[in-house]
């Protein structure tokens, strides 16, 4: 649910919702809310994850839809007597309160600062280990996701300096720690470290610990909150680093999670999508196109097959949005690295339907093609941020587009460097051997230029993976012997190993089920 409003910030000026003007009384608690709060509190104390999940996913949405469509929920002070003034519950309530506000209204600066304070208090409670609750993964993911979203939203908001009132600037200066980038990163990092999640995942590989098998829940009476928040924080860090343009570090933060396997991150669809979207994007920016194509293909196929089950989910809109964006990114990847064989038939036909015609034009590398790369990138890229505070002394200018423009420019620069490669590819496809001179004539360039084009092709189609190894991304490869070019078509090898492993596990499950059945 956390970000169906991912791109909301275009409505630049905060409308300064005055609660009273809408007839909203923060102290009025309708009966249905009373009942909601009391029950949720009880379920949390009883560690009834199933009921908590129901209330969180369904009741909260229904009530919001019915009673708080365009006004905030009752204030925390009004409900806290109903829950024994429980400190942690109030922090959780306020977290939801702000999330709902961000989704439906425009937060004021004061509200943004208050929400930051609330996250600080909440995370501190969790980090000091005084929480003994068991919360649904969905909720814990939403916390991390929303935390990062509100940070991004704050950076965008702050960067629009032109429209700031003097009062807002004074507040920004006074509360310069609110949504400070160091604070944000350090909270996520602290959650990762304090939860020992990296060690837990390591130990799990050796069979010494269970985490993935129980979806991160603790069936021995302990709390899952710190562990799972720590786990999701690794995805949060990936996202923050991508927003900052630091793709290498982002991917490094995600390393402890093996994304080729099922894991806790796949247990929450929003998290699954966020992870793969950013993973794929980072790989695209690092020129590891095959890796990006592989993962985009998998998730797009998954969404294609399971979309219908999410229709009623509050995340549905966001799922569709990211789905569309990832098709655009896949179109970019395949235009730069036409490894269509890596893409499943269902995904491919969707892709052709959405971008087939554009992809043809992107092969041409004229001005129009660049405009298309620009368009698709701008549509599908993360909402980049400038993390530093503005200099309040200088004339106030908007700088909210700076980070995006830089990433776009550098991306288009890369595209430009590859502009002659699709021409070579066309010829490589039809010859098994061709002499240097002949190919130069066909391509209407001189031999030295052809040589640079061929070597550029080699360089751009061979990326360096995270271990420093050279990986070929080429669909058509070649080698040169003196002045003869020999072409080799690379055939992707189907990976059967994983498939067999899964079948072995499945079979074993069936057999042990059968063993358990006693025939009279």
């Amino acid at each position: 649910m956390a970000a169906s409003y991912d791109y909301d910030d275009s409505s630049a000026v905060p409308s300064q919702q005055q609660p009273d003007s809408l007839g909203y009384d923060p102290n009025f608690v309708p009966d249905s809310v009373k009942s909601f709060v009391v029950h949720l509190y009880r379920h949390i104390r009883e560690k009834n994850v199933y009921e908590i999940h129901q209330m969180y996913e369904t009741s909260f949405q229904t009530l919001s839809e019915r009673m708080f469509k365009d006004s905030p929920w009752p204030s925390v002070d009004a409900v806290s007597p109903l829950v024994d003034n429980d400190h942690v519950f109030c922090l959780l309530y306020r977290e939801m309160w702000f999330r709902h506000l961000y989704a439906r209204l425009t937060p004021t600066l004061t509200q943004r600062i208050d929400s930051w304070d609330n996250y600080c208090s909440l995370f501190q409670v969790v980090l000091h280990g005084v929480v003994n609750m068991q919360l649904p993964n969905q909720w814990l993911w939403d916390m991390v996701d929303e935390f990062v979203y509100q940070f991004q939203s704050f950076c965008q908001y702050r960067a629009k300096m032109k429209s700031k009132t003097e009062q807002e600037i004074a507040l920004l200066k006074q509360f310069d720690q609110a949504w400070n980038v160091y604070g944000v990163l350090n909270y996520l990092q602290a959650l990762v470290e304090k939860s020992m999640i990296i060690q837990i995942l390591e130990q799990e590989k050796e069979g010494l610990e269970q985490f993935t098998a129980t979806d991160g829940y603790d069936y021995n009476g302990g709390s899952n909150v710190l562990k799972v928040l720590g786990y999701f924080s690794m995805v949060g860090l990936l996202r923050v680093h991508c927003l900052l343009g630091d793709y290498h570090t982002g991917l490094k933060c995600l390393l402890p999670i093996d994304i080729t396997q099922q894991g806790v991150f796949t247990s929450v669809i929003g998290c699954h999508i966020t992870t793969i979207y950013h993973y794929g994007f980072a790989n695209l920016m690092m020129r590891r196109y095959v890796e990006a194509i592989r993962e985009f293909n998998k998730i797009l196929l998954y969404i294609y097959k399971t979309k219908q089950y999410h229709q009623k989910s509050p995340q549905y809109e966001q799922i569709l949005k990211k789905n569309e964006q990832m098709y655009a990114l896949l179109a970019i990847c395949l235009s730069l690295c036409p490894q269509v064989k890596l893409v499943d038939e269902a995904v491919n036909s969707q892709l052709r339907e959405k971008y087939g015609e554009k992809m043809l034009r992107m092969q041409r590398y004229d001005d129009e093609a660049f405009a298309l790369y620009d368009e698709l990138f701008s549509y599908a890229c993360p909402k980049f941020i400038t993390p530093s505070a503005p200099s309040y002394e200088e004339p106030l200018v908007n700088y909210n587009q700076d980070a995006y423009r830089l990433q776009l420019k550098l991306f288009l620069y890369e595209v430009k460097q590859q502009q002659l490669l699709s021409g070579v590819r066309t010829f490589l496809k039809v010859y098994s051997t061709i002499s240097f001179g002949k190919l130069a004539t066909y391509m209407e360039v001189d031999e030295p230029t052809l040589r640079t084009i061929l070597m550029t092709y080699k360089h751009k189609t061979h990326s360096v993976d995270s271990d420093g190894k050279i990986i070929s991304n080429a669909d058509f490869d070649f080698y040169i012997d003196d002045d003869m070019i020999h072409v080799v078509e690379s055939k992707p090898v189907k990976q059967y190993g994983d498939y067999f492993l899964r079948q072995i596990v499945k079979l074993e499950g069936v057999m042990s089920d059968m063993d358990r059945i006693k025939l009279d």
């Binding site: 160091y182 420019k409 990326s463 003196d482 090898v493």
Partner: protein, 234 residues
Amino acid sequence: MGMERDLGQKHQSSVAEAVEQLVAVNPYNPDILPDLENYVNEQVSSQTYSLDANLCLLRLYQFEPERLSTQIVARILVKALMAMPAPDFSLCLFLIPERVQMEEQFKTLIVLSHYLETARFRQFWDEAAKSRHIVEAVPGFEHAIQAYAIHVLSLSYQKVPRSVLAEAINIEGLSLDKFLEHHIANDGWILEKGQGRGQLISLPQNEFNHPGLKKSAADSIPLDHITRIFPILS
């Protein structure tokens, strides 16, 4: 295969270890900024390289632009060029504000990177000669770029004409003879007679210039995936 990235990493000094430790434990701490800056200089003088530490420093500059030192940034970028074929140079640029990139010395470095990315070695060496003050401040620069040029050549060629090699690494005549001798003795290069047009150098085989050597990596499964079925197998 010898195709792994050669970072020119010598043994890590104690300074290096201390800083790497700092970066690992405290990646988001503004106080380590001076240590990271010193470490960049240390990398330059000791001919070592740490992308992680340098990105960490660029990140801190990004958070507090008023602390940015253009001299240090320039050194990081030269080091990143030397790390080619890895995409380190772009990774650094992604983090450097555009107005900083507008400065003359960075424009030059961006042009140099462009020539390397598009394998235009002749232009690269000409441009580098004009910008000695930037690149000569970093020992090992020439050697690192030559290593990259040889890397691209060995991806592409089984046998490369001497003149092509000479242009790519910017060495000619007697120096080239010596260079070749060294590689013949140490790296398995073989000198052959071309068809009337001077010498050919036969480069060592790898899976990219001899596709037959490519082992199907796809058939292998990482051990930790297999561990999942250990209980079943036992």
